[in-house]
């Protein structure tokens, strides 16, 4: 693979996707410290919100330690060069949240839907554009559809005004060939001035390989996370990715030593438990299940005595999509009923 001279835009996820791994409990001080260190390392874009995006604070997804607004107002004024993005899932967050984020100084709004439901993002993408924001469409669980279907949905987001459309591997299920097929379809089928992005999860340890395949096929924006802090086995680990990009001669503007230090000195100490591929996060990638279900399944497992792996596999079998966290307790209760009725036979 020859990527010499290619240019990518790196986007750090540790303070948004990382919120999943932290049950949305990162403190304001930690957010400020990590974001300023990322800024000093030359990170062009940093995402900050609840793990499930603006308005995600809820019983269903978990209440964050502080509000999105408090995090954004604390982080943004302290940054010299980095810009800040916010995620928004229509059905959870609304245009009111988008306007609040803009008022806080957010430059980039990323509007995320399941990979077949792009049309519910229309009003938010149009509003992002109208308000002059860098506007991104984010198609989640992209492994669940073929490249042509993904392109059809990406074209909708493009038609609403997205500057960039993402192929998002929310389950960490894709292998490099899957990424190549999807990113190539988007690159060939979208307007040349529409950027393509890739967001990976490391559940099958494919974060780096998949991100490289994405760049080769035409992706310009790539998401990764310092120390990999993110849902499931985490996102593509940023510091490793930067080292690999350096070796391959890809232009990205991030300082390797500094991003290594952010990961090691600031982000790893935040972790409640090691963010790594273990049997549960491996099962997310293997069964194609939304990465942020991990901790919910583990909690339901403890409460109802059903192995978390069995819960995750059942969630995959029922074709659940992102946002269906409420299914996890429901599935655990169903499995317990089933097991009780089997053992009483």
């Amino acid at each position: 693979m020859d990527l010499r001279g290619r240019n990518v835009l790196l986007h750090d996820m540790s303070l948004r996707d990382g919120m999943h791994a932290k049950q949305h409990q990162i403190s304001i001080e930690e957010m400020v410290a990590v974001s300023q260190a990322l800024d000093a390392a030359g990170m062009p874009l940093i995402e900050v919100t609840h793990g499930d995006g603006l308005g995600g604070a809820s019983v269903n997804y978990g209440f964050s330690r502080h509000s999105d607004e408090d995090y954004l107002r604390a982080v943004i004024p302290g940054l010299k060069n980095s810009r800040v993005s916010a995620l928004l899932l229509p059905g959870i967050g609304t245009i009111d949240h988008l306007k609040m984020a803009l008022d806080c100084g957010v430059s980039t709004i990323r509007v995320a839907t399941h990979c077949t439901e792009a049309d519910i993002a229309r009003q938010h993408i149009e509003m992002g554009r109208k308000l002059g924001m860098d506007t991104v469409g984010f198609l989640m669980m992209a492994h669940m559809v073929d490249p042509d279907t993904l392109l059809t949905q990406a074209r909708l987001m493009e038609s609403y005004g997205s500057h960039c459309v993402y192929c998002t591997d929310s389950a960490g299920y894709m292998l490099p060939n899957d990424v190549t097929a999807r990113i190539s379809a988007l690159r060939e089928g979208l307007n040349p001035d529409t950027e393509i992005g890739f967001h990976g999860h490391h559940n099958l340890a494919m974060g780096i390989a998949n991100s490289l395949a994405a760049i080769e096929a035409g992706a310009y924006r790539v998401d990764a996370s310092a120390a990999g802090l993110g849902a499931g086995a985490g996102n593509t680990p940023m510091e490793i990715f930067v080292a690999v990009l350096d070796r391959m001669g890809v232009e990205h503007g991030v300082d390797l030593y500094r991003i290594m230090d952010v990961a090691e000195d600031l982000v790893v100490p935040l972790m409640d438990m090691p963010v790594r591929v273990d049997r549960d996060s491996l099962m997310l990638g293997y069964a194609g299940v939304y990465s942020s279900f991990l901790l919910f399944a583990q909690r339901a497992s403890q409460k109802y005595g059903i192995p978390s792996r069995d819960i995750l596999v059942e969630l995959g079998r029922r074709k659940t999509v992102g946002g269906q966290e409420d299914m996890i307790e429901d599935v655990a209760l169903d499995l317990r009923k089933l097991r009780e009725s089997e053992s009483s036979l």
Binding site: S58, V59, N60, P90, G91, I92, T94, I95, D96, H114, T116, E117, D119, I120, R122, Q123, H124, R318, K319, T320, V321, G322, G323, Q324, D326, M327, E329, D330, L333, D334
Partner: protein, 303 residues
Amino acid sequence: MDRINIAIIGSGNIGTDLLIKALRSKTIRPVWMVGIDPDSDGLRRARELGIKTTHEGVDGLLPFIEDDGIKIAFDATSAKVHPENAKKLEPRGVLMVDLTPAAIGKYCVPPVNLQEHVGTKSRNVNLVSCGGQATIPIVGAVRRVQPLEYAEIVATVASRSIGPGTRNNIDEFTRTTASGVAEIGGAKEGKAIIVINPAEPPIMMRDTIHCLTETEPDQDAIRASVEEMVKEVQAYVPGYKLKNGPVFDGRRVSVFMEVEGLGDYLPTYAGNLDIMTAAAVRTGEMFAQEMMKGNLHLEPVGS
């Protein structure tokens, strides 16, 4: 007067399903169906069923209001069109039952607050949203046991059951449902989440209701109240089913519901649409009974 004559505005999926349900009613009689597309399946069905139709929108209905004695109109168009329809019909003494998320009128969730609308002389009632109809009864069931600090609902629906109107303005669903959860359910704060799932075969509508009680939940009383409420909803939506729960975790009370439709015009998985049309008929019937008893008479304005 054996039944009250009604009109249905909107000949899409909802309007057509509503028509089939209304034809079974002993208190309301569908006389007119209003559409904008002469070739729509809904208008064709209506004609076959002997219902008068127009494809000229509400304007096509207006000349016949008095002659045909239309007293109630069900609006199954869109939040954008509803205010205009209401402006034309309300002054003619027609009560509007609004199935759009326009929410001009007061919210109505039959098993929770239908009776409160009796005697108010309101000319417009709004049915919140499908998610609201499926979840607010449960919020109300917990609330009637003890005060709620917060209530949150998650409605998960099949992709195929969500039409372009909802898709183009999903914020309207989340906002209207959240305010209905708080106001009618009876919580200090309400939140609504909608998730769309494209799985094939399509999934049944699922609803999760999370309540945070102000004090330690009275588990036995809440269990009994929820079960009773489920029966009340089943009176008009037989496929309304308690799947799991109530689950108690500290002050959190969670209830997991599934809604299967009757399959009148819409497929059974579209319980979200069925519960709207069933609630609309229930609401219309209550007003019709009041009209027949002589308790409710809406005068045309200026007469």
